[in-house]
Symmetry: C2
Subunit: 357 residues, 2 copies
């Protein structure tokens, strides 16, 4: 498996299937671990960081964590490849732009990705499309067990797993879900919902995690508490109660919009599809905006000749690094906007070229 | 011929054919006349106004000015009918909203319309699509001659024809052309061109004449001088020199846009057509905006399955009064926007209904 192979399709997190897929795009369970007897990264020398990277790379590859594993030496990778991994949510922005020895191991199907030397020595991430938090946790835990057979993790009998940032101490578990909340936003209820999330000790971020603003109608919601609660309890609270509440609110808002503003919603949705199918120049930002409305239209049954999977794939593959990988050339400015529009028209089955030129 | 028959098609001024049709939508020659021995309208009693209206109506109908003539008693007409006449440029806004006895005689094909008791007792208007100013003047003059055989017009041996407003004294002739200048506007040259027009003693107005702002990319340009110059000289200056200059500038701007910003223009044009073909709600204003871009696309050869005639007809028939006449019911707010969108989709051969509802 090569990195370029990834661009052929969307990974697990955009597969467009799974429980509550109308609102929950995907979920993720992430475990933070550090090697016992080795300083946290912030206190490591470069040599130590290199040792950690080499050692963890070897152990992970030998542990047979998946039928096929792609290891990317992130420090040695080009900017475009690193951007590609960020767009696929396999590594964080910080991991992409750091300047020390580091890497990521990616399992076939992208249900699993292990970042080495991100904030902690190890960040094991398991992804599922829709809301399948228990399955994601099970996969992350299974990986954790496999690696713990070979490695000694920093652990404190009272606090639990020790991590570089105190917010991760304890289980080291962070669970998150990517939500699509267009109706709550359209009906101006989103602020209220986000405030409630904060009161429930949830963190809400943008499409690409920490430090990114919520882009359009997509929100990444995650737990803040990792200490003093079991992994199972965290998942139960998050996936059994909190996220289903968001889903319920969003569904109610969609029903209400459909009933009270049917023609206006249909207008927005049909215009979005028409623009995607005919524009000759398209920015990333406008793509996100229009695909959000198209996704809403598909879930509301207003659009029948496009499915969620296609929407998700366009969403991913029209992003800058993906677009350039797919087209196998570097693209800038206007040319990229033109290539994106052409790609989207093709994917949505529209006429490629204007008639009679 | 009934008023409702008018809505079946666009009149002469939107026929979409004629010299320089890519820029000049239509032209108009208008002669102002007043009856000798009768006060100007501002000094008439209501009875006198009624007498003028009755007398002129009778004379015009007996003069056989065209094979078929429709006379509309504007004072007695409903608001929707009056609005319809304004939308077709057959009467002015002022004529539509005045509150004294008045009317309009309209010839078949709408090449000729005579307003009675607008600002002057008589306002004879001849229309042609494209730039056919001499033909329009010839028709107006022919009508003037026919009526002058039967009526005595207020005339001063030194000044010429006398009119209510001094700006019309002399020939009483006002010539005007409706121009479509999207490229000059898009390339930010329009202000410069409009300033030059002012220096050349031309008046520039919006789509519906005096007192209306230029709406979108459509500009009505007319002469300001009527005294001390012959009718022929006015037409020669206007149609032989001034308007062709506008046409030249606009064509240059279009060439330049196409060469330097090809993808951006094609993007705008294709999006406009796509939105017109798929929107479920459409305002008058947005229709004008999108049709302007679509018209530009047709003249640039970027769109081949829509012709100028169709663009012009939609332009006219999607306006509020026309829409209500065509659909034979009163429509307000959202319902009208919905009906307009449906009408436009139908005219542009798009799918009428969304699938699977």
């Amino acid at each position: 498996m090569k990195l370029a192979d990834l661009t052929r399709q969307a990974g697990e997190w955009l597969r467009g299937a799974g429980p509550m897929e109308d609102v929950v795009i995907s979920c993720r369970a992430r475990l933070a671990r550090n090697l016992a007897g080795v300083p946290f990264l912030s206190r490591c020398t470069t040599d130590q960081k290199q040792d950690v990277a080499n050692r963890l790379r070897g152990e992970i590859l030998q542990a047979n964590i998946a039928p096929t594993v792609l290891y990317v030496d992130v420090a040695a990778a080009g900017a475009l490849d690193r951007q590609l991994l960020v767009e696929r949510h396999l590594i964080s922005r910080e991991h992409a732009t750091a300047d020390h020895p580091r890497g990521v191991a990616i399992a076939t199907g992208e249900t699993l990705a292990v970042m080495i030397n991100e904030e902690d020595h190890l960040r094991m991430q398991a992804f599922r499309s829709g809301l399948q938090m228990s399955e994601a946790l099970a996969e992350a835990t299974h990986l954790d067990d496999r690696l713990e057979e070979r490695l000694d993790f920093a652990f404190h009998s009272r606090y639990g797993y020790l991590t570089a940032c105190p917010t991760n101490v304890g289980t080291g578990l962070r669970v998150s879900a990517m939500l699509h909340l267009p109706a709550l936003k359209m009906s101006s209820q989103i602020e209220k919902v986000l405030r409630a999330a904060k009161d429930l000790h949830l963190e809400v971020r943008g499409l690409y995690g920490e430090g990114t603003e919520a882009l359009g109608d997509f929100f990444q919601v995650s737990n803040q508490t990792t200490l003093g609660v079991s992994e199972e309890q965290i998942v139960e609270d998050f996936a059994g109660e909190l996220i289903p509440k968001f889903v319920e609110y969003e569904r109610q808002a969609r029903d209400s919009l459909r009933q009270r503003q049917g023609p206006a919603i249909e207008d927005k949705v049909q215009r979005s599809l028409a623009i995607l199918r005919s524009a000759r120049l398209m920015s990333s930002q406008e793509t996100t905006f229009l695909l959000s409305l198209l996704r809403l239209g598909v879930t509301l049954g207003l659009i029948s000749d496009v499915d969620i999977k296609t929407v998700n794939e366009i969403f991913l593959l029209s992003q800058p690094a993906h677009l350039q990988k797919v087209l196998k050339r570097e693209l800038n400015g206007l040319v990229r906007a033109e290539a994106r529009a052409t790609y989207i028209r093709k994917r949505l089955g529209a006429n490629q070229d204007p008639p009679d030129r």
